[in-house]
């Protein structure tokens, strides 16, 4: 293992380590724009130049590998001059339009300017002009003047998605990022290019002018768009999600996430059920708990055999664990059905066909999926009269119009229909009792992804309206029905659940590397 001396600190690193990584291990920051740990190394921004003893010129730290006995200076006078000069060159034709730039606040150019340059431009001539607000793809806008041509986006489309939409056109300081003729940046991961863009050249059209980034609060969460369970920064402002940003987890999603998942935050805030309802009339929780417990108790007394329960693969493991206890200890039914979103698009990278974040969680909590009937069986059972009372948890309507209509029609035949969900105002009007549940942003819990990896997510903000987490709703009903289930915190459920289940908790994501 080569030993290297960085700014006087002796450190031993793996063979093949770059100076930049070795310096990070030794605790020194080497500024860089074009280098990204998941992409190839073009060494074109020249921001990371460091002085290597014996070398004629400065070496790019991102590219050069350490050798045994190497002596590196990352803060020598020569290096500082080079850093200043590179920033001066980069900012030479940069419009410095930070006040109207979405990147401001999380811009490497801003940060490095303050840390390494902080001097006035010596340019007296006019700045070069390039394209502004260029719609390079359906989700991404390009600003040529802000672009520093680090080619992270090009390399992303070459090396990660393999879709090769982007290239550089023109030469020298006229160079711009463009799509190849007839193409646009429309791959399923296109917004990742805006994430990795170190400046405000590529910005998300969805997030455009929505919120200044320094106002955002960030919560570690998991994307609910599909069963892959990409780790995200859930970023919110005033109790509303503003955007998802991928959170580094080498076991799941690396630095990336898909556009569909990224935009799935919109579902959280649309079509919400915010008040407990009884036959279309809003109630408070006290009233609805009493009514519901009474009605459920009567239904069980009348015909416990015709009681059905739809479990949702959208709910967290903790919610499911209480659902299981509620079903087994309070309702005592064994006619279970599994709802959830229908399958959709998948690819061989991150996007999975199963659009439910926690189907594996249902499997883990309930010990398998064999006991569950599907939606078709549910409709058949309702139509045949085998199910007269239905307790439905967070369920999405079937995709095709015919089944959907059959399902909606069948629900009318029920004696008692209790819906416990965050969405579906449509079904909520049909339900005899509608209980508002909150989204994953408003509670904490655990999802198990397609691979069996249990991943915790945290609460970002308080539940909207009168909605409550599923587990609290089950607790209320159970208490009202004389079979109290007592928990105060989610982690109590989690502990008990992990004891009961054989799924091992493996969800702590690794620390993200410096991007």
């Amino acid at each position: 293992m080569p030993k290297v001396n960085i700014n006087g600190t002796e450190i031993e690193v793996e063979k093949g380590t770059t100076i930049l990584k070795a310096a990070a291990q030794a605790g020194f920051e080497v500024p860089h724009f074009c280098y990204h740990p998941a992409l190839s190394i073009p060494a074109n921004c020249r921001m990371c130049l460091v002085e290597v003893e014996g070398a004629r010129s400065l070496e790019p730290a991102c590219y050069s590998e350490v050798t045994d006995g190497m002596v590196v200076e990352t803060k020598s006078e020569r290096v500082i001059k080079a850093q200043k000069s590179v920033l001066e060159f980069i900012l030479l034709n940069h419009p410095v339009d930070c006040p109207i730039c979405d990147q401001a606040g999380e811009c490497k150019l801003q940060d490095y300017y303050m840390a390494y340059d902080a001097q006035e431009s010596r340019l007296r001539a006019e700045k070069n002009q390039k394209v502004k607000v260029f719609p390079i793809g359906p989700e991404v806008l390009y600003d040529g003047e802000r672009c520093i041509l680090c080619t992270r986006c090009i390399r992303f489309c070459e090396e990660i998605t393999g879709t090769n939409e982007l290239t550089i056109v023109q030469r020298g300081d006229s160079a711009e990022i463009r799509t190849f003729p007839g193409k646009e940046l429309d791959n399923p991961y296109s917004v990742c290019t805006a994430d990795i863009c170190p400046v405000g050249a590529l910005t998300s059209r969805d997030f455009r002018f929505k919120c200044r980034v320094w106002l955002l609060q960030s919560t570690d969460s998991v994307c609910t768009g599909c069963s892959n369970g990409c780790n995200i920064h859930l970023e919110h402002f005033r109790n509303e999600i503003q955007r998802y940003r991928p959170r580094y987890n080498p076991q799941v999603n690396d630095y990336w996430m898909c556009d569909a998942g990224r935009l799935s935050y919109k579902e959280v805030h649309t079509d919400r059920l915010l008040r407990p309802m009884s036959n279309g009339a809003a109630l408070n929780w006290h009233g609805v708990t009493e009514t519901a417990s009474a009605k459920l108790a009567r239904a069980l007394d009348d015909d416990a055999g015709s009681f059905g329960f739809v479990v949702s693969p959208q709910a967290s493991c903790e919610d499911l664990f209480l659902a299981k206890r509620f079903i087994e200890e309070v309702l005592g039914t064994d006619q279970l059905y599994l709802g959830g979103k229908p399958d959709g698009f998948e690819d061989d990278f991150l996007i999975k066909a199963d659009k439910n974040p926690n189907r594996q969680g249902v499997k883990a909590v309930f010990g398998g999926l064999n006991d569950f009937g599907d939606v078709d069986k549910l409709i058949d059972d309702i139509e045949s009269g085998a199910i007269k009372t239905l307790y439905m948890m967070e369920t999405h309507l079937p995709a095709d119009a015919e089944t959907r209509q059959r399902f909606v029609d069948a629900l009318d035949k029920l004696d008692l229909f209790v819906l416990q969900a965050q969405h579906c105002a449509e079904l909520a009007n049909q339900a005899h009792l509608a209980l508002p549940a909150c989204s994953h942003a408003e509670t904490e819990g655990t999802f198990v992804n397609f691979d069996g990896l249990a991943q915790p997510f945290e609460q970002a903000f308080a539940p909207h309206g009168d909605s409550l987490p599923h587990w609290q709703i089950f607790m209320r009903l159970a208490r009202a029905m004389g079979q109290p289930l007592t928990y105060t915190f989610v982690h109590q459920i989690r502990d008990e659940m992990f004891q009961a289940s054989d799924a091992d908790e493996n969800g702590e994501p690794a620390e993200a590397q410096a991007e």
């Binding site: 020249r46 020298g172 300081d173």
Partner: protein, 503 residues
């Protein structure tokens, strides 16, 4: 095509004739020498070796009478022979003899001879050819490539086109010898897009070589296959940089690669690749025929062999001339170029293409060798010298060059991309009379910030000349700034020698 060809031969004839008139005495020797050359033979080489030993330094020789040996032509031998681009004429003049000799030799032997010859890369960087060849891995799972850098785009440089247009078979012979020595399977000749005539000539010659069995499968009955392809460039100067060229050859935009790995290890199509200049490879047949030591003797320390020199600017006989390595610039100017034209006084010259530092006439006695030119404060580059007279505005020259490099910067890495345009803007403003004194410091600082901080040498190519104009002619820049205008008349209002004659 024929017109163009005859034009060219006539032109070169004319220039030689003019030179001949002036140096009648030497021309006699030259003809004698040419006769001698036709006799050939080792005796002659040995004799000349002796002559060489008695004259260890060509500089000393230049001060005396030039030895007959120095006027013998090798690289340009076929330039004046009509139709030398055709195989039959080329063979009749001794062509492909070196190849036949080489194919009786071992690859290692050939590399040793080339190392011994002190042949330096003729493209400008001057890397020793034999050493470069020895970097190529012996064993390789993938075919090895030879790439000829014929993207001759350096402003002021025009030597390789002569070799390709007038003596293409010599070049092809050199390629085949290199391939034989190094176990190379394919060769690409990357010709600058504008040199269409050279491309046609090369293609024609390649076809003839295939028909004659010098290319293709089982060359000369041996177990040796070799193919040559001509690849026209698309006009980017940066494709003259070897890794930029490789990218261009692979069909990408010409953006130089980071080194290491060097092309000899990972080159074109990820395979081991040797990139050589046209003139370098065209010199190989002579090394094989006459031996590496012979080649090394015809030059100075570390710089062997005959070399083509280009002369341009207001000289009497601009053109391409062959002379040994180590000749002084004064001799090139006076003996080959015929001195400056009447009414034009030498003010400055660039020794080897626009990316070399500019020199004043006091450096005329510098020898053309990579080390000697560095001592003189510049570099040999492509050895195509641009002379400038006292009518030339150095600020305008610097601005013009900065514009060239600004236009040709590939835009990949920051200092060159942004710095080239900035330097051009600042120099423009000084030339237009809007300069300030602090601009001079700014330019020097900018040059420091570009040089050495870029991926390839194009950044240095901006910094070195711009800095040199500022340092060699500071008074001219200050004059521009003080006057707030350019003291030199515009090109169109320039007095020509014809005007002064009329007056």
């Amino acid at each position: 095509m024929t017109e163009e060809k005859s034009d060219k031969t006539e032109k070169s004839k004319e220039t030689t004739e003019e030179a001949a008139e002036e140096k009648a005495e030497e021309t006699v020797e030259e003809t004698e020498q040419a006769e001698k050359a036709e006799e050939g033979g080792e005796a002659k080489a040995a004799e000349e070796k002796k002559a060489k030993k008695s004259l260890p330094k060509p500089k000393a020789a230049a001060k005396k009478k030039p030895t007959p040996r120095k006027d013998e032509k090798y690289l340009s031998r076929n330039f004046e022979i009509p139709n030398a681009h055709n195989l039959d004429v080329y063979e009749a003049n001794g062509g492909y003899r070196a190849l036949k000799k080489a194919m009786k030799m071992d690859g290692e032997e050939i590399i040793e001879e080339v190392k011994k010859s002190n042949l330096r890369g003729r493209g400008g960087a001057g890397f020793p050819c034999g050493i470069k060849w020895s970097f190529l891995p012996k064993e390789s799972d993938v075919p090895k490539y030879l790439v000829i850098n014929a993207d001759e785009g350096e402003p002021g440089t025009f030597k390789d086109r002569y070799l390709m247009e007038l003596d293409p078979h010599r070049h092809i012979e050199g390629c085949i010898i290199a391939a034989w020595a190094l176990g190379i399977r394919y060769c690409y000749i990357f010709v600058r897009g504008e040199l269409q005539f050279a491309q046609r000539r090369l293609n024609q010659a390649i076809k003839q070589a295939y028909d004659a069995g010098y290319l293709g499968k089982n060359i000369l009955g041996q177990d040796f296959d070799f193919d040559i392809y001509v690849h026209p460039g698309a006009g980017a100067y940066i494709c003259g940089e070897e890794t930029g060229l490789i990218e261009g050859l692979e069909g990408k935009s010409g953006q130089p690669r980071m080194k290491p790995p060097f092309p000899a290890v990972v080159g074109v199509f990820q395979a081991p690749t040797i990139v050589n200049n046209v003139e370098t490879i065209s010199s190989i047949p002579f090394i094989i025929e006459n031996g590496g030591q012979w080649f090394a003797d015809m030059g100075i320390e570390k710089n062997g062999g005959p070399k083509l020199y280009g002369l341009s600017g207001p000289v009497n006989n601009p053109g391409v001339y062959e002379a040994p390595s180590g000749i002084t610039i004064r001799e090139l100017l006076e003996r080959y170029g015929g001195g400056m034209r009447d009414g034009h006084e030498l003010k400055a010259f660039i020794p080897g293409g626009s990316s070399c530092a500019v020199l004043k006439p006091d450096a005329l006695d510098a020898q053309m060798g990579f080390e000697t030119m560095r001592e003189a404060g510049s570099s040999m580059g492509t050895a195509c010298i641009t002379f400038m007279d006292t009518n030339t505005c150095m600020v305008r020259v610097a601005a013009r060059l900065a514009h060239f490099y600004h236009h040709e910067s590939c835009g990949q890495c920051t200092p060159c991309r942004e710095g080239s345009g900035w330097a051009a803007k600042v120099l423009d403003s000084i030339e237009a009379g809007r300069g300030r004194m602090e601009d001079l410091d700014l330019l020097l600082d900018m040059c420091d910030n570009i040089q050495g901080n870029t991926i390839c040498a194009l950044g240095d190519s901006i910094a070195i000349p711009v800095r040199s104009y500022l340092q060699v002619f500071p008074e001219e820049f200050e004059d521009h700034i003080k006057r707030q205008s350019c003291p030199y008349p515009a090109w169109s209002k320039r007095k020509t020698s014809a005007d002064s004659d009329a007056a």
